[in-house]
């Protein structure tokens, strides 16, 4: 298919799905841009997988509309899946096939894929494709499903909890592959309940809560809003009161010669206060999106979500 203007990879307008009285997703307006990694975040049960199932036309929306690469998700689903790689959160591989046979089957249904891409992915993910799927660990099954999603070099990847079951080294490799896909100008829609998984690769994140999208924001902006932590060790015990009044400081904990401070905004004032004493050691912890995530959650629950900017 050729398009005069490159179509938006994912667009939903008022997408809504109710099941037997349960509002799984409600008025979802979402736009994912070409060439970005979009993190789709929310706890289990927030509606992430329901959204993906609607995008792939496994389920019918109750209301609203969605398009992928400019194609209607209900009417042009088969054409959409030609250009999309999908890794479900919940799936079973044919137990009596090997990984290689499974991938060959899916490749045949796609009219063939580049064998070198499969071999390269298998090597990078250290996938054992010669064994029967029934004999594979969950992590190794995950690798087969990941290769199936990436092997046709799709314009859009929809990955639902892709890291679950992978060991940390393989998670890093997967992140590297996702970054390469983005560098290639392709798009990744990455659904996860884990912020740490998403923040390493995503450009923007959308946070879903009880079926509603409560914020869409750039990851770096969210990080700026984050509450950070500093652990300091002093030559002599210090008083917590010396730090409580420092601008930006949220909480202070003193334990012997040590001090743990959480703060937001610039760190200058806090450092000046610390340098009044003899500092032995200093340890900064990376901004944790989990904190923002919870802040948004609490805010939305109280009806006062922070300004999404």
């Amino acid at each position: 298919m050729s398009h005069p203007v490159a179509p938006v990879p994912i667009r939903t307008e008022g997408l809504t799905k109710h099941y037997k009285g349960v509002h799984a997703i409600e008025d979802l307006d979402l736009e994912v841009q070409r060439g970005e990694v979009f993190g789709f975040l929310g706890p289990n049960g927030a509606g992430k997988t329901t959204t993906i199932r609607a995008l792939l036309h496994f389920i019918f929306p109750t209301r609203g509309h969605a398009s992928i690469l400019g194609l209607d998700t209900v009417g042009e689903s088969v054409e959409i899946r030609r250009h999309v790689g999908y890794m479900p959160a919940d799936y079973t591989l044919y137990p009596n096939l090997t990984g290689a046979e499974t991938l060959r089957y899916y490749a045949n249904l796609r009219g063939g894929v580049d064998e070198r891409v499969v071999a390269d992915l298998a090597e990078r993910l250290e996938a054992d494709l010669a064994r029967k799927n029934a004999d594979l660990s969950s992590g190794n099954r995950q690798k087969v499903a990941l290769i199936a999603a990436f092997m046709n070099e799709p314009e859009l990847l929809i990955l639902d909890e892709p890291s679950s079951g992978l060991d940390p080294l393989m998670q890093q490799e997967l992140q590297a592959i996702i970054r390469e896909v983005r560098a290639d100008g392709r798009t990744v829609f990455l659904s996860s309940h884990s912020l740490s998984e998403v923040e390493r690769v995503a450009d923007r994140v959308g946070i879903l809560r009880e079926g509603r999208l409560i914020v869409v924001e750039r990851v770096d902006v969210l990080k700026d809003k984050a509450i950070r932590r500093l652990d300091l060790e002093f030559e002599a015990p210090v008083s917590a009161d010396d730090f409580r009044s420092v601008p930006g400081v949220r909480s202070v904990e003193v334990h012997g010669h040590g001090l743990s401070v959480s703060y937001e905004g610039p760190v200058n004032a806090l450092l000046r206060a610390a340098l009044e004493h003899q500092v032995v050691n200093l340890n900064s912890r990376e901004a944790d999106l989990e904190e923002i995530f919870l802040a948004y959650y609490r805010g939305a629950a109280n009806g006062s979500a922070p300004d999404a900017g």
Partner: protein
């Protein structure tokens, strides 16, 4: 063998198809030599059967060939074929959905209707293969043990048998496709088959109820009495038309519901 959904499904169905075929051929291979050996004695016993049993088993047993036809086509073959058709029909509609393999299958550019068509085609062909094997098997065993099947139209009976299996296979397919539940597909089709057999077979014992038995789906098979009278075009057409309608309905059902993947 993994070129398409059809070839993969055919490969997956091979074991059950061969098993159903083997059961029926073994039945023929064991029962028919016994009838050849002791058939005349059986017939003597049958002469003394009460009238109601004659109604149930039919009047066609005046010869050893009639005994063979009755043994193979009254219950054993329909039973095995319907178990096959109902189980495979249900599996074609919701097997991969319930197994959890459908999510990755439908990640590929293939519509759910195409998947159903490929899988239903495998069941269709499986039924035909089994019926043809049984028909040829009966003829071969009869030749080997010296039974003259001349008076029995086993071909016509086999055609009606295939239509019966297609009908109940399509019922299982349709119920499963609409509901997404293998339990419902197996249950509805299985219970319908048993009830329709019981109604068609036992109601005629009571003279006043005999006419009602014609409304049982089983009548489309048993009412033809194809072994004696050959193919009944009307009953065969009704059975095939009903199977085709249920087959069509299964597509409508599958295409309009939410999948559990």
């Amino acid at each position: 063998m993994l070129a398409s959904v059809f070839t993969k499904s055919a490969r997956d169905a091979l074991l059950w198809t061969v098993a159903a075929m083997a059961v029926l051929l073994v039945m023929a291979g064991v029962a028919m030599p016994m009838y050849a050996e002791f058939g005349e004695g059986y017939l003597g016993l049958m002469e003394e059967m009460p009238q109601w049993l004659r109604v149930v088993y039919g009047e066609s047993m005046g010869s050893v060939a009639g005994l063979v036809g009755m043994a193979m086509f009254t219950l054993v073959s329909p039973l095995v074929l319907l178990v096959y058709a109902i189980a495979m029909g249900t599996g074609a509609a919701v097997g991969e959905e319930e197994d959890g393999t459908l999510a990755l299958l439908l990640a590929n550019p293939i519509s759910r209707g195409r998947v159903l068509l490929a899988k239903a085609a495998v069941v269709f062909i499986g039924i035909l293969v089994i019926v043809v094997a049984v028909w040829l098997g009966i003829g071969a065993v009869a030749g080997l043990v010296g039974i003259d099947m001349g008076g029995q139209d086993t071909f016509a009976a086999s055609v009606h048998l295939a239509a019966l299996a297609l009908l109940f296979g399509a019922l299982a397919l349709a119920v499963s496709a609409w509901t997404g539940s293998s339990a419902l597909g197996l249950g509805v089709a299985g219970i319908t088959a048993v009830l329709s057999y019981v109604v068609r077979t036992w109601l005629p014992i009571v003279e006043d109820l005999a006419d009602l038995a014609r409304f049982s789906p089983w009548h489309l098979y048993a009412g033809a009495d194809a072994l004696q009278r050959g193919i009944d075009p009307l009953l065969l057409a009704i059975a095939l038309a009903a199977a085709a309608a249920l087959f069509g309905a299964s597509f409508v059902g599958l295409r309009r519901r939410d999948l559990r993947v």
